[in-house]
Symmetry: C2
């Protein structure tokens, strides 16, 4: 299918490359059509990869990945234009991190809100599905990097969009039984807040190839 | 040893009963010396159990458990009096939950603060160790309720206090290799924020006998 990947950072490049490898046509979107990182990615990713503005990419994609930095996501999606996002599955993998006090960053969390919910609120015609933000991007697209069973989460208001994302996750290598539906988009509060703990796990264990498994 | 359990709710009663069963002398502390729930707990817990005010209990204990509701913890610990907490391990298992918008509650989280840190800040002479807040109280004191391997976390500024808490956790049944030290008390942000996700897990799975395991 045609997929837009918004964002040229390591997350966008990793997901974009994986999608191209799975046979999808992928346009990477960024602020300008001549973004150097996007151009380098197109050259390396091979046939099926292209680049354009956020709006170009969103118009191109039947499905859109938000891989921009969380602090910039709403502005980037605004540049993508709401009419290019309407009636499409918008896969939000972003985390709102605040590096102003150094590393590890603070995670911008709230008792009653989340980036996923904000995106859904600002773009009500998009079908936002929050997923994959709880793991390193290499693990997102290749869960076997972490041995054994571990879990990935989806949430969103539109069941058909969630089903489409589950299919994509399975194509990345996630077993169906390790993909947990947490409900509507308000569950983004949970998966985004968890990143505060995940960063501590990375610090305590020294590896990015790490995830959690629910045990019950 | 002599242990204070502050709070008469299900968490305090469950931990208190477990501690008495392990042979400790336990005083349950509450706002008033004649608290009905504390009296019923003393009657059921058997020899070694007693009750008093927050200050009575904190003065009695060589180690203090904060099992009060997170929204009331600072006030309860104030009633326990800082001089009764000084130079003691203060095990904080509380979560700051906001039920004003119904169930599941909102978890009061912040990018830069946590209840554990607030307690350490207000009671600088206490050795605050945050632990056990990531699981249901029945699992806290009996990890075998959840089959297989799963993890519990400790954080705090005082290594000796953390070691004391690790010993207690092992006496509850936690294997040493499943007790992960996340660092100083600022890691309380992570374990408290995770509760937002844990509540979603409970909703999605329908069981309280649930925990996570780090896989790497």
């Amino acid at each position: 299918m045609r997929i837009a990947v918004l964002g040229t950072g390591i997350v966008g490049r990793t997901i974009g490359t994986r999608l191209v490898g799975l046979g999808h046509e992928v346009m990477m979107g960024s602020r300008t059509a001549d973004n150097v990182d996007a151009g380098a990615w197109v050259a390396s990713a091979g046939a099926g990869a292209s680049a354009g503005t956020f709006a170009d990419a969103a118009a191109f994609g039947d499905l859109v990945f938000n891989c921009t930095a969380g602090a910039a996501s709403l502005e980037a999606l605004g540049r993508a234009r709401s009419e290019n996002l309407a009636r499409k599955t918008l896969v939000d993998v972003a985390n709102h991190l605040d590096f102003s006090q150094g590393v590890p960053p603070n995670v911008v969390v709230s008792p009653t809100d989340s980036l996923g919910e904000q995106i859904q609120h600002v773009f009500p015609d998009a079908h936002v599905v929050k997923t994959l933000n709880t793991i390193n991007c290499n693990v997102m697209v290749d869960p076997a990097r972490v041995p054994g069973e571990h879990d990935v989460f989806v949430c969103g208001n539109d069941p058909a969009a969630k089903a489409e994302v589950v299919d994509l996750l399975e194509s990345f290598g996630w077993p169906a039984e390790r993909i947990l539906d947490l409900g509507d988009i308000s569950a983004a509060r949970g998966v985004e807040a968890y990143v505060q703990l995940w960063l501590r796990f990375l610090g305590a264990t020294g590896t990015n190839d790490l995830n959690i498994r629910i045990v019950s």
